[in-house]
């Protein structure tokens, strides 16, 4: 029986099971946390990594795409890097371990390891349903991260930067961040490889906005060309809360970014923007599961994708409007610039609407660079490669510029243009 079970596991699944076994006794956690870890790992082992037969993983067959899992061995020491936006307060998570000295005025901070050790994190280590492989992996393996609480009525003048850097190996981090009523803040969540060594990264951010909180949350994923990045954002939006969530994917070999968002208070507003820069042999999946659960809430979602080489991209956008969530206004768009015959992008918008008085819409486009635009620029003396880069840049810059913060716009445009210089 044991033999059979084992033989059905893929190399990656086996590596995960073995990595877990090797770390028993080292994982931080009280009895409740340890019990939860065991249960999640057991579920993972039984179900295996999800395949295309699981609907939400249909375009990202993790079982076949995740070929190998790197060793746990924490490698070379990693030093923090400069903040993306000058003046931000940096919270370093180096090689998966949070710096216990990190702090910022006006916010309460604990390293997540402490919450594991004292057991207060046990309830958060959950899988959200049978298809939540990221919840299982992260809940089993998570070691550290930051738990941050922005008190009510606090306005943070400087952005907080969660700086997760690694040099290969297995990295599992967690960031529960709550924003009190009427607080205002900008958080930059950065995931970045500092070497070429392959990594498996899982990271979950639990974001809660209380009544009237206004938050800009930027995710910048710049993993290495051999890395697997499994990200998940769990959001709960209170009444009249405003969240602007901006996701930039500019790296990684196998990337899944799950955005599980519940709009739970009337008058709440979500602005989701995504920029996916895809090149090489990478596979990048952004999956949105958005619930408009109460009346009078708004959301807009715009995803812009640029596909080079043999890269593949996926955007799944599920918007569910609950039966009594009248006056919901939700608009979703996914636009792709497909610049290679060997690349691809799959879009799956899904609206599940159970209320009758709502405005919901979605649209998707896939196109190459407009030859009229290219000719116009070239007719003014701009060489073809430069003209193409300008047009690709323009395609994504349009939504970056929506962020009014000049320094932030400049920083993100810098990431985008340097990525394009390397790939175009």
């Amino acid at each position: 029986m044991n033999m059979q079970t084992t033989s059905r596991l893929t190399a990656a699944e086996t590596a995960l099971v073995e990595a877990f076994a090797a770390q028993i006794g080292e994982f931080p956690g009280d009895g409740a946390v340890i019990g939860t870890r065991d249960r999640l790992l057991d579920d993972l082992k039984k179900a295996g990594l999800p395949t295309r037969r699981i609907e939400s993983w249909h375009y990202t067959d993790l079982k076949s795409l995740l070929r190998q899992v790197p060793d746990v061995a924490p490698v070379a020491a990693v030093d923090p890097i400069a903040a993306l936006v000058d003046g931000s307060k940096i919270f370093p998570v180096l090689q998966g371990f949070a710096d216990p000295k990190a702090s910022a005025d006006g916010v309460e901070v604990t390293v997540f390891k402490n919450k594991l050790t004292d057991g207060s994190a046990a309830a958060e280590l959950t899988a959200l349903g049978h298809d939540d492989a990221i919840g299982r992996i992260n809940g089993s393996f998570v070691r550290d991260g930051f738990a941050i609480s922005v008190p009510a009525n606090t306005e943070l003048e400087q952005a907080l930067e969660l700086q997760a850097l690694h040099a290969g190996g297995q990295i599992h981090t967690r960031f529960p961040v709550s924003f009190g009523a009427a607080s205002k803040a900008t958080i930059i969540e950065r995931h970045l490889a500092v070497t070429d060594g392959a990594a498996l990264v899982s990271s979950i951010s639990d974001i809660r906005l209380d009544e009237g909180a206004e938050v800009t949350w930027i995710i910048v994923q710049q993993q290495g060309a051999a890395d697997t990045h499994l990200g998940q954002i769990r959001v709960k939006l209170g009444a009249r809360a405003k969240l602007r969530l901006f996701v930039v994917n500019a790296g990684g070999k196998l990337v899944r970014q799950e955005l599980r968002i519940d709009v739970e208070g009337e008058g709440a507003e979500l602005t989701l923007r995504g920029v996916n820069l895809l090149g090489g042999e990478s596979h990048t999946d952004v999956t949105l599961m958005l619930g408009h659960n109460v009346p009078h809430t708004n959301s807009t979602e715009i995803i812009r994708n640029v596909v080079f080489d043999r890269a593949n991209g996926v955007f799944q956008g599920m918007i569910r409007v609950a039966p009594d969530a009248q006056k919901t206004d939700a608009k979703m768009a996914c636009n792709t610039l497909l610049l290679s015959d060997d690349g691809g992008f799959s879009v799956k918008p899904e609206l599940e609407i159970f209320a009758d008085d709502v405005i919901c819409g979605h649209g998707a486009t896939v196109a190459d660079i407009d030859s009229n635009h290219l000719f116009y620029l070239m007719a003014r003396g701009v060489p073809e490669n430069k003209a193409r880069a300008m047009l690709v840049n323009a395609f994504v810059a349009e939504i970056v510029e929506e962020l009014e913060d000049e320094k932030l716009v400049e920083a993100l445009e810098g990431i985008i243009s340097s990525w394009l210089e390397r790939h175009a």
């Binding site: 000719f375 070239m378 007719a379 003014r380 003396g381 701009v382 300008m390 323009a394």
Partner: protein, 251 residues
């Protein structure tokens, strides 16, 4: 400066021949008008001169300052001083007008081995040229041509022409969609660029523009050939009698 010899060209995609043995010579300092009925190949000629890929030259040659330009792409031709003012300038969201102007000016300078402009120098040049064309600064802060009215787009084309200082200017139906005031501003802009070492090819359907930009020569294009050439009186004759007589003579 420009010598078109027995030019034959077709649409690359479906092979339709548009230009069928066209001959035309334009000297430095000359303003040449090309007139013709719809569908005669006027816009196609402007695209072929600027190197648009959608057209294939099957026979003949285009010499610019004595050298064939057929193998050059649009950017290379632009750097050598060929400028096309578009009939329908395209809107490009996400590309800032000022950034575009700076890149275009500097890329052309680079291609000619000149130093790039400093930012203050660049801004001064744009401001001076924009003032002459009554283009306000707010327009320059918008993305390229986005939300510009028809007249604003045409003025923006002439602004680019003034800044890029080309040797051969091709104006494709620059008068279309312009009211009389805008037409005067545009014509003044073109006349201001008139010089002994610059040639201008004005492509137009109507004589109206030629009241403001007075041509040295007028050529009638029909079915891809120049069927008649003359001085500015030819344009007036066309205005009077339409194209039918000349087409009848040629047929």
């Amino acid at each position: 400066m420009l010598e078109i010899k027995n030019l034959h060209a077709r649409i690359a995609e479906d092979g339709t021949e548009i230009i069928r043995g066209l001959n035309l010579t334009v000297k430095a300092g000359e303003i040449a008008a090309i007139m013709g009925p719809n569908g005669s190949g006027k816009s196609t000629l402007s695209y072929i001169l600027s190197g648009r890929e959608d057209y294939e030259v099957t026979e003949g040659d285009i010499l610019y300052n004595g050298e064939s330009i057929l193998e050059l792409d649009p950017a290379e031709r632009a750097s050598k001083g060929i400028f096309l003012a578009f009939q329908y300038p395209v809107e490009i969201p996400g590309v800032a007008t000022m950034q575009f102007l700076k890149v275009a000016m500097n890329e052309q300078r680079k291609a000619r081995g000149e130093a790039e402009l400093t930012t203050p120098d660049f801004i001064r040049r744009v401001k001076e040229a924009a003032d002459k064309l009554k283009i306000d600064q707010a327009m320059l802060r918008r993305p390229l041509n986005v939300g510009f009215s028809g007249g604003e787009k045409k003025r923006a084309e002439i602004l680019q022409m003034a800044l890029l200082e080309p040797q051969l200017c091709v104006l494709d139906e620059t008068d279309s969609g312009l009211d009389i005031d805008a037409l005067k501003i545009v014509a003044d802009g073109v006349n201001a660029l008139k010089s002994p070492d610059r040639a201008v090819v004005v492509i137009t359907h109507y004589q109206r523009l030629l009241d403001y930009i007075v041509p040295d020569s007028v050529h009638v294009l029909y079915k891809g050939q120049i069927i008649r050439s003359g001085d500015k009186s030819l344009a007036l004759e066309l205005e009077e009698n339409g194209y039918a007589d000349i087409i009848g003579e040629a047929a």
